[in-house]
């Protein structure tokens, strides 16, 4: 078979890029609005822990231990990243989130780390 892309492939690729970029722009404009004020750690679909940034030191390392494994979470200047985890693939390691509603997902450990904005933190940091 000929290993060259045809017209249909090109349309698929261009269409995919347009849709992806469009959604990234929309998320940035409407979903990641404002300043992150805290972080929520969800495990297996339930809220496990939540922290407000102003109650934490400038740099903090959290260790989340669950039945499945561990995740080491670094919080530095209101930016959150996962620096190590017990899973095999470690795809959640090495990048950070800094805006409200951004998430880091660790599928093998069933963990979702989500940043929250100003209005939401008040209701959870009781």
């Amino acid at each position: 078979m000929a290993l060259r892309v045809n017209k249909h492939d090109i349309i698929l690729i261009v269409f995919t890029v347009i849709i992806a970029v469009l959604f990234m722009v929309l998320f940035n404009l409407y979903l990641y609005k404002g300043v992150a004020t805290g972080v929520e750690i969800h495990y297996d679909g339930k809220l496990l822990e939540s922290y407000s940034f102003d109650k934490l030191p400038k740099e903090k390392t959290l260790e989340i231990n669950t039945d499945i494994g561990y995740n080491i979470i670094n919080i530095c200047n209101n930016k959150v990243s996962v620096t190590n985890s017990s899973c095999n693939d470690k795809v959640c390691n090495g990048f950070y989130i800094s805006k409200p509603n951004q998430v880091i997902v660790c599928l093998p450990n069933k963990l979702v780390i989500k940043l929250v904005g100003a209005s939401e933190v008040d209701s959870i940091s009781y």
Binding site: A2, L3, V5, N6, T16, I19, F95, L107, N109, K110
Partner: protein, 159 residues
């Protein structure tokens, strides 16, 4: 083919090796969830060389055994969902579309990621996981094109 089951068994073995191997390949981009999807090369080859049923069975066994070897039960759910979505996509496109194997590889990768995002949203009960998908779509393009291209190379050699 007389020794078809032997060849298919070998294909499963190759796919498992590729699946485990690729978890050791660091993705050189700061993106979440980036995997190349090398095991899909085997699925595409089996689909074209043997047929739809064989591709589904090989992918299913690969996803289950590969996750048991390297991963665990949670990984298996994602692996099976992604594998099944992508192989069914490849079958439908191979039969009913004008995409080349490169386009089929791209679409398979897109559907593989979509399946995993949907499963993650359901299992982790968190709709915000959907924000990963646009990035994964962009990652699917080079990865899917690569798997499609490599499948084509191998198929050309097999002729």
């Amino acid at each position: 083919m007389k020794n078809k089951n032997v060849v298919l068994g070998f294909m499963v073995a190759v796919a498992i090796v590729l699946q485990v191997l690729e978890s050791f390949i660091p993705v050189p981009l700061p993106i979440p969830g980036g995997k190349i999807g090398l095991a899909n090369i085997v699925a595409l080859i089996v689909l074209i060389k043997f047929g739809a049923k064989e591709a589904v069975v090989v992918t299913l066994i690969r996803a289950i055994l590969g996750s048991l070897l390297h991963g665990g039960f949670v990984t298996m759910i994602y692996s099976v969902a992604g594998g099944m979505f992508s192989v069914v996509t490849a079958i439908l496109l191979y039969r009913h579309s004008k995409y080349t194997i490169i386009g089929i590889g791209v679409m398979s990768a897109l559907m593989h990621n979509l399946a995993q995002v949907i499963v993650a949203i359901i299992l982790l009960n968190n709709i915000y996981i959907v924000t990963y998908y646009p990035i994964l779509m962009l990652v699917s393009l080079p990865c899917g094109a690569l798997t499609g291209y490599v499948s084509g190379l191998v198929l050309n050699k097999l002729k």
